[in-house]
Structures are given as C-alpha cells and as structure tokens.
C-alpha cells in the first residue's frame, strides 16, 4: 500500500472551493437572466437585437445545475446522495432531450417561456426559446453531473464518461465564447437559434465547476505521487487546448468575416454592375428614342427630300438647320447633322466638325432600316471620341429608298462617361468601365479614373485572360478576380450590356476590398495574440505557482529528510546502545555506531567487513539466525534476544539485541536495524546474585538444620524436664512425708516444720516446672487457625479458674465478644491465665468483680479482662510480661511469674498486641488485640 499523498487533501480543498465558486457563479448567471426576463431589465429580453438573450428555460436549468454542482461538492457522498445526483442528472438529460427534439421538429410552445410574456425575434429567430445547441449542452451537463460526486470507492464507469462530458462541454462552449469575443458569433444567420453569449459563458463556468468537482471527488487522475508532473501536464494540455481553440476560432472567425465581407463586396459590385447595365441600356434606349423622333417622320423626310432636290434653296437649308439646331439643343447632342446616302453632309449644327463618312456609310449603318447607334468612334484621329445615333431618313413615298442619314453625335464625356463613372458608394478604387471587342483586342470605351485618354486608345489583347476587360469581352458574367488594365488586381463584376457590343466592368481594387479584411485580420491576430498571451500568462503563472509549490514541497521534503537524517545520525552516534544496520540477505553490517564498536571491540571499519553472525558466540548463532530469518519472512515485526558476542580480544560480551526489519513499499526487506544493549555487567551481577542466593540458601539450610537440631534438643530437654526433673521432686516430697508419717514420734515441732518446708518447696518446684513447660510448649506446638467463640471460651475459663475458690464472692461479667481468629487452645490459655490473674489479685477484696469485654477495632479484635483488684503501678508495666517477672511478693500472692509471659507469647504468635492499664489499689485491665481473621 503506498502512502497517501499528503497534498491530495490540499488539492481537493482547492478544487472543492473552485467548484463551489464556479457552481454558484453559474447559478447567479441563470438567476440574473431570469430576473432580466421578469423585470424587463436591459440584459433580459434582448435590447441588443443582434444577439439573442438567454432563454428562460436555460436560465432555470442553470440555476438548478449551478446549485447542484456547488452543493454536490460536499464531503463523502452516501448512497442517498448518489441516488439523488444520478436522478437529477437523468432529469436534466431527459428535459434537454425533449427540448432538443422540439427544436429540431420546429415546435415552439409558449410553455417554454415559463409563463413570462415574451415575444419578438432577433436575427430572424423567435426569442425565449432554447437553442438546440444549448439543449445538447445540457445533455452533456447532465451526463457530467455525476463527476462532481465524491464517491468511495470511485465508480470509474460512472465518473469517467462524466468527466469526459464535462471536458467536452467546456471545450465546445469555450470555442463559442471565443467566437463571441472575436465578434463573429457562430451559428448566427441561419434558422438555427444560436446559444446566447451568457449561455455560453454559463456553460464554460459549469464545465469548469464540474471538472473541478470531478478533480475534488476523484483526486487528480493518474494517481498520487506525481502531482507535480500531473499538474504540468494538465496545464500544458489546457494551454495547448486554449491555443488550439483561440487559433482555430480566430481563423474561423476571420475566415467567416472575410467570406461575408467578400460576399458583401461582390454583392455591391453586382448591384453596381446591374445598375450600370440598366442605366446604360436605358441611355441607349433614350438615344434610340431620340432618333425615332425623326425616323419615319414624314415632314422631316419631305424636308430632307426637298433638300435633296437640286432646287433646294437657302431657306430650306435654314429650316433644316433650324430643325437640327433645335434637336441639338433639346437633346444636348454634341452635333446633329444630316448626310445624304452618299455621305455628303447636307446640314449640321454646329456647322463645323463634320463627321467621317466612313462610319455612317459603313454597311451596318447605311443599310439599316432603323435607328442605329454608331458606337464609339473618332471621326478623325485627332477628334475626341464620339458616339452617334444614326437615323435613316427614308423616302416617305418609297420606303425602300434611303434619302440620307440623320446623325446625332454625342460627346460621351458629357453624359455617358459620368453616368458610367458614377459609383453609388464611397470607394477610392471602385470604377465602372465599358469595353468592346474588336477582333483579338478589347477596347476600353469609357474614360478611366486613373488613365487619361483611354477611350478607344487603350487596347488590350483578348488572349490575356488575366485582365478583367478581356474576360468581360468574352461575355463572362458575374464576379471575377483578376487584374485590370493597369495590371492591378481587382475584383470585378462583369456584365454584357444588352443590345450593344458593350461589356460593363464594375471593378474595385482587390487592395481596397481586402483592406478592411486585412485590418480585420490584424485585429483578429491582435485579439488572438492578446488572448494567447493572457491565457499563456495565466497558465504560466499557474504553472509557476505550481512549480513553486512543487519545489517548495520538494524543498520542505528534502529539508525534512535532511533534518530527519541529521536527527537520526545524532541519535545513532550518541545512542548509549549499539545500533547496527545489516543487509537482510547476508546479515552483513552496513552501518554501525561507535557504541557498537565499543561493545564488540572491533573498529567500525572492521565491523563493516563482518556480519552479525561473525561476532555472535557459536552457541547462539543458530538461535539468532532463526529469529533473524523469522522477521525477514515477516513472521513477526521484530525480535528480542539475549546472546553473547565474542569480542575481538576473545572475551565474551552479553548483549540484549532488538532487531527489526525495514521494508520498501513493495514489502521487500532492504535493511535490518538492531539495537544492541551491553548487559555484561548486569549478567555478571545476576551471576553474582545467583551465587549469593545459592550461598544464602545453603546457609539457610544449615541454619535451619541447626535450628531444627536446637529444637530437637529443646524438646528432648523439655521431655527430660517433665520426666526426670519431677521424679526427684516427688521423691523429696514423698520421702519427707514418709519421714514425718513413719517417724513422727522422733521429730519435734521444728523438725516437722522443716519437713513441711521441704515438701512445700518441692511442690513449688513442680509447679514451676509445669508452668515453664507450658510456656515452652506455646512456642513449639503447631499453630492451628480457626474461628474461636471467645465468649464461651471466657465462660468455661472462668468456671475452671473459680472452681478452687468456692468460698469467694466473685462476680463475673462477660459482654458479647466478637469471635477471634486463632488457635483455640492457646486463646483459651490466654483467657484462663488472665482470669486466673484477676481472681488472684482480687483476693483482698471482699467483693471481686471480673469483667471480660471485646470489640472490633481497625481490623483487629480487641479483648480485655478487667478486675477491681489491687492493681499495680504503671511504671512497672514494662516488666509485666517478662518470664518470672513479678510485681508482688510471692508470700503476698503465690505464682510462678510465667502466666503473663505465656499470655504475651501466645498473643505474639497471633501477631497481636497485649498491654495493661492499672493503678495501685484501683484494679487492673489487661488488653489484647489479635488481627481479625479473614472470615471475621
């Protein structure tokens, strides 16, 4: 298991905040649009009639999806939220698909306006209806919604397409947004409703939010541990995509602009050309009409006929001249003149400037039976270019006979050329011209803007099809792009002028046509460059920040590592235990500390040539190696072993080793680490202690044996005391009695008294021996513990003790006594002795009172025996319990001085205490306390 990336959490935190912010922004965009619709705010129902506003349905969906994305970025998602989000996604997709279907079917229901009063259209499409593109984008958004779900475990099947859809959504709308920025929004001008600028913006934000949420939910793709390179790649990808987007959209936008502009120019050229053709045709028609006035005009024909008569007089001439003069004036012809069939001029106004008969005697004119137009010509080489209308004058009586020809000669520079040259729009290079084909040449007929004296002088070979005029003369129609008479590239509209040999060329210099396009190009390039620069800068800064973060983390990690290493080294060098790292395969040491060499006696360099087995005592090697292999196999994380090292000088060192194994992330051991504690001193101490213990036990045994022997001796002694010591006493007593009985007569009073003394002393000796034996028995006999009923014990003891004194007035009181824990026989002895004492020392009292009491006190059972006897002085209290210690003379109170010593000895054996309170003449109270037994 690899360690989880500590930066992932940060990454997720940032992504989460970005997703939240973008999601809320999307919702805000939708809400703003809705408010715009509701309150008719400027950004709502399209004040700008060029661009469509966001549809209400779109706005509502934005609000929902924005909030969903923002709120969906919370902590871990439970199954409930997963279901909720998937449901919302399905609802979104369903709604979007229905809307898409409606749009593609061309169905526009008012319901889509969500009850808002919306009418009108923008750019030919109805307002307030969702664009099919927008609907499609919502399908994408619905698919990508689950990407925002933090799921554990991640469901790749659900999140991967979702993330892809989010990316697609972002990319598509980025392109659309760029198009808006370039000023050539896409999808306008058709029947398709284009997505609004705000919609596109909303989708870009939504896509970003979903991607950020996806990153937050799934963590950076490609796993952890490579976040820096992942970040760089992502940034580079983003940069490449944005460059591609900017360049592509820039190019498309420019291309579309250029196409539209060209189209516009061409339309303009076409329009101008059409206009000119119409005008020219009209002009020619007018000229023909002018001529028609005189054609078949009987009076004029008669007049001409009369003029042709040889008898014609000057009056007639004048009349004719008057006619012609009026015509010339009325129609503003340059010269109107009449020639006869042979071409002689009959009359002309003005008088000078006769025409060249070559033109009006040409077969086409001379034999024409209708008004014809004499195309551009020069009557004389030095003459200006003229255009004439030839009106045949026929004999009114014989229509086949031609009297002559009336010619209206017009100066085209006066009316026609301005008419041609006039351009309806402002343009510096636009011009219209007419040409005519003459054999293999094309002749420029009209005056040119930039070349003087061109009419009929400028001839171009018709074979040079690169020239527009040449092409026009071959009856090319429509728009061509070629060079003009100057050799300058132009865009031209070509037309044939009906009923004439003329071809109209309406042309404009390509340079002028393309100037705005070029400007547009530069603008596009500048905008694109700015966008590229901006995105480059932004991404560059992000990249820089990321590098900084990366290197800072790198540095921090390196610094942390350095410190860790430093601390490790310090610990390693300063450790009071030996530390050694070994190769897990061979057991050879790779790193040892100073202490290690102190323990082993080898230098560090020497140790690095050895393995731990080499310095281990041969008897411990197998055990050590087994444990070592155990942790390498992974049976246990570490082991602890006490073993011996063979030091370099051959001495033994006892060590306590703790060994653990270090593994790489794959679990393969790469190093073992051992802490070695030198426990030689401790071992020696332990050995010494062991030795001491042995000695001690031996001594205890010996002492016990001695004690047992002493005990046995004591027993033997007691035995002989009880047996052998008493016999002589009995003999003394017995024989003294026999003496007094058998030889009574030979003894006087004094003799008998002396014998009595002997008997009494012998008996006293017997009592002493009995008491002493009882006293020693207390120390020797086995101790039996039981619960003892002290109250009944006290009663029987009193009965036993008071029996020898039937005459005495003894009052005995025994309170309720707690049971004691101890040896019943011994405790009976204690009570008996104390009661006996009390009886003894109350002897002088007429009325003796003996009271036995007891209570529980601090875990002890305390008893007392109180009397109203003679008491004693407390300053002798210390002597009370000694053997053979007496506070009263034996003549006063008989006794051996063993009783209280025996009491003390019994209580001592019970681990209890005994003490007394008394005052001379005021009675005494003897207390004893024994620990309350476990069952008391």
């Amino acid at each position: 298991m690899l360690p989880s990336d500590p930066f992932e959490a940060i990454h997720r935190g940032i992504s989460g905040r970005v997703a939240l912010a973008l999601g809320l922004a999307v919702a805000a965009i939708g809400l703003t649009a809705l408010l715009g619709w509701v309150f008719r705010l400027p950004w709502g129902p399209g004040v700008d009639h060029v661009q469509v506003p966001m549809a209400p349905v779109t706005a509502a969906l934005f609000v929902c999806l924005g909030l969903l994305t923002a709120l969906g970025t919370g902590s871990e998602a439970g199954p409930g939220r997963v279901r909720g989000v998937v449901g919302a996604a399905a609802a979104t997709i369903g709604t979007a698909l229905i809307l898409l279907f409606l749009r593609l079917q061309g169905v526009y229901w008012k319901a889509e306006h969500l009850g808002l009063d919306i009418s009108g259209d923008a750019g030919g499409v109805p307002l307030g209806y969702i664009s099919p593109v927008t609907a499609l984008c919502f399908v994408l958004a619905g698919i990508s919604l689950p990407a925002a779900l933090p799921m554990n475990p991640p469901r790749r099947r659900l999140t991967l397409p979702a993330t892809g859809a989010a990316g697609l959504l972002l990319g598509t709308n980025f392109v659309l947004l760029l198009a808006y920025l370039y000023g050539t929004p896409l999808l306008y001008g058709g029947s398709l409703i284009p997505p609004a600028l705000s919609t596109v913006t909303g989708f870009v934000l939504l896509g970003g939010a979903l991607l950020a949420a996806a990153v937050r939910a799934q963590g950076p793709r490609g796993g952890t541990g490579r976040d820096a390179s992942f970040g760089s790649q992502a940034l580079f990808l983003a940069f490449a995509l944005s460059v591609a987007g900017i360049v592509t959209v820039g190019f498309l936008s420019f291309w579309s602009y250029q196409a539209r502009f060209r189209e516009e120019v061409e339309r303009q050229l076409d329009a101008v050309a059409d206009l000119k053709v119409i005008e020219l045709a009209q002009w020619r028609q007018e000229r023909i009409s002018d001529g028609r006035v005189f054609f078949n005009h009987p009076d004029f024909a008669r007049l001409v006929q009369q003029r042709l008569e040889p008898s014609s007089d000057s009056g007639l001439r004048n009349r004719l001249a008057e006619w012609l003069g009026q015509v010339q004036k009325a129609y503003d012809y340059e010269r109107v003149y009449l020639v006869d069939a042979d071409g002689r001029e009959l009359a002309g106004v003005p008088a000078e400037g006769a025409g060249n008969p070559e033109f009006y005697l040409s077969p086409g004119v001379a034999e024409a039976r209708d008004v014809t137009i004499l195309d551009f010509h020069r009557d004389h080489p030095e003459d200006p270019v003229h255009l004439s209308v030839a009106v045949p004058i026929l004999d009114p009586t014989d229509q086949t006979r031609r009297l002559g020809t009336l010619i209206f000669r017009t100066d085209p520079a006066r009316h026609l050329f301005p008419l041609i040259r006039r351009w309806p729009t402002r343009s510096t290079t636009a011009e219209a011209l007419i040409v005519r084909r003459e054999g293999d040449e094309v002749v420029i007929l009209s005056e040119l803007r930039l070349q003087a004296d061109a009419p009929l002088n400028l001839r171009l070979p018709i074979s040079d099809q690169a020239v527009v005029s040449a092409r026009a003369s071959l009856e090319h129609q429509g728009i061509v792009e070629a060079v003009d008479y100057r050799g300058v590239p132009v865009v031209a509209a070509l037309r044939a002028v009906p009923d004439s040999p003329w071809f109209l060329v309406a042309q404009m210099d390509t340079e002028e046509v393309y100037r705005p396009i070029r400007e547009r190009l530069w603008l596009t390039v500048a905008l694109g460059a700015t966008l590229l620069l901006g995105s480059g800068l932004g991404l560059g800064m992000a990249w820089r920040q990321q590098r900084i973060n990366f290197y800072r983390r790198h540095y921090e990690a390196a610094e942390a590592l350095r410190r860790s290493e430093e601390q490790f080294r310090a610990m390693f060098d300063l450790a009071p235990v030996g530390i050694a790292q070994a190769d897990p395969q061979t057991g050879r040491w790779c790193r040892v500390n100073r202490r290690m060499s102190q323990i082993t006696g080898y230098t560090e360099d020497e140790l690095l040539q050895l393995g731990f087995s080499d310095v281990t005592h041969p008897d411990d090697r197998a055990r050590d190696w087994d444990a070592f292999q155990g942790i390498i196999r992974g049976d246990a994380p570490d082991y602890r072993l006490e073993k011996r090292y063979l030091r370099k000088d051959g001495s033994l060192a006892w060590v306590n080793v703790n060994v653990t194994v270090l593994r790489d992330p794959a679990g393969k051991p790469y190093r073992t680490m051992a802490a070695v504690e030198d426990v030689t001193v401790r071992k020696q101490s332990e050995a010494a202690i062991h030795q001491l213990n042995q000695t001690l036990e031996q001594r205890v045994r010996e002492r016990t044996q001695q004690l047992e022997a002493a005990n046995r001796e004591l027993e033997a002694f007691s035995y002989s005391v009880s047996h052998d010591l008493r016999s002589p006493l009995r003999a003394i007593d017995g024989f003294a009695r026999i003496l007094s009985e058998d030889h009574e007569g030979s003894l006087d009073g004094e003799g008998r008294r002396l014998l009595d003394v002997i008997c009494a002393e012998a008996r006293r000796m017997g009592r002493l021996i009995d008491d002493l034996l009882a006293f020693s028995r207390v120390g020797r006999s086995a101790f039996r513990s039981a619960e003892v009923d002290m109250e009944s014990l006290a009663r029987t003891a009193f009965e036993d003790c008071s029996r020898p004194f039937p005459d005495r007035n003894l009052e005995f009181a025994v309170g309720p006594l707690p049971p004691a824990w101890g040896d019943p026989a011994m405790l009976r002895q204690v009570l008996a002795n104390l009661i006996q004492n009390a009886i003894k020392y109350t002897q002088p009292r007429e009325f003796a009172r003996i009271e036995v009491g007891g209570r529980l006190e601090d875990g002890d059972t305390v008893y007392w025996v109180r009397d109203n006897g003679i008491g004693f002085d407390m300053k002798y209290a210390g002597k009370l319990f000694g053997v053979f210690q007496r506070l009263h003379g034996e003549d006063e109170f008989e006794g051996t001085g063993v009783g209280l010593a025996l009491v003390k000895r019994v209580i001592d054996r019970h681990s209890g205490r005994v003490w007394a309170e008394a005052a001379p003449g005021e009675g005494a109270c003897f207390w004893f306390a024994v620990p309350a037994g476990r069952e008391v």
Binding site: S718, Y719, S722, H723, D724, R726, S727, P728, L729, R730, A731, D733, G734, F735, A736, R737, I738, C759, A762, R763, M765, G766, D770, L773, R777, S781
Partner: protein, 159 residues
C-alpha cells in the same frame, strides 16, 4: 516364685524411689500383696511372655499393669505395643503411670491402646491417693476379661 502365679499388678518402673512410693501407696490399701516390680521394659515382657530363648513358658496375665513411659532398654510405648498387639495380652488393662504431661506422650499412649494415663503428681499425698484409687478401680471395680474367654483369633483393641 509361687506367688507369681497370682500376680495381680505388674509395676514397670525404673526409678526405685518412685517404685517404693508406689508400692507404699498400694500397701496402704492392702493392694501390694500380689505386686511384681520390674525395672525395665525387657523384663516386663519377659515376665509376661517368658524368656526370649523360647523355652517353655506359660503366659502370665497380671490383672493390671502399671507402666512407666521412660524405661531403659525397651520404653513404655514399645512394651505397650507388644502387649496390645498380642491378642492374648491385649485385654490386660495397662495404666500409664508417668511424670510426662507431654501431649504427644498422652496421644501415643492412647493410640497404642493404653487403658488409662496418669501423671504422677509431685505432691506425695496426691500421688499416693492417685495410686491407691487406681488400684482400687482396676482391681476391684473394673470387670476384667476372664483368661478362658481369650481366643487367639481375637483382634486387638487398637490398630
């Protein structure tokens, strides 16, 4: 030793002083006529079972045996054990007459079938009184087992 055929009391006592005092006490009650005094356990057994060489010897059954504990050669307990383990002699009343008040002595004696345990008082009056009562009790009051009623198969009274 014709009178030995009617021995009523066998006194086993190594201390001649004590023996004298005992005999005197018995004599005072006229109980000393058929008393035999032996000074050690060996002699006591020989008196009852005959010499150890196995020569023909009739078993002698005193009516009462007064046995001291501390004896030369065989001590009192051993003598008691021999007597009480032999069915022929197990029914003879044996009274321990000793100076020991030791509990273990008392216990051991009774365990081995002693019929009574008397501590010799140091006081002569008490002593002679005790011995006299003892003789009276066991010889006069107590109903003894007739010798003819003893059969070899009878179990001893104690283990």
């Amino acid at each position: 030793m014709t009178h030995q055929e009617n021995v009523e009391i066998l006194l086993v006592e190594d201390n001649s002083r004590d023996a004298e005092l005992t005999l005197r006490a018995l004599r005072k009650r006229n109980l000393a006529n058929q008393v035999v005094w032996v000074q050690d356990g060996q002699a006591a057994l020989e008196f009852v079972f005959g010499p150890p060489d196995g020569s023909a010897h009739d078993l002698r059954r005193p009516r009462l045996i007064l046995l001291d504990l501390k004896l030369p050669k065989l001590d009192g307990i051993e003598v008691l054990q021999r007597l009480k383990s032999d069915p022929r002699t197990a029914t003879i009343p044996v009274v321990m007459l000793t100076s020991s008040r030791e509990e273990q002595d008392v216990l051991r004696s009774y365990r081995h079938g002693a019929n009574s345990y008397i501590v010799k008082p140091v006081d002569f009056d008490n002593f002679s009184e005790a011995v006299a009562r003892l003789g009276m009790y066991w010889l006069l009051l107590n109903e003894a087992v007739e010798p003819k009623r003893i059969s070899a198969g009878d179990a001893p009274e104690s283990e």
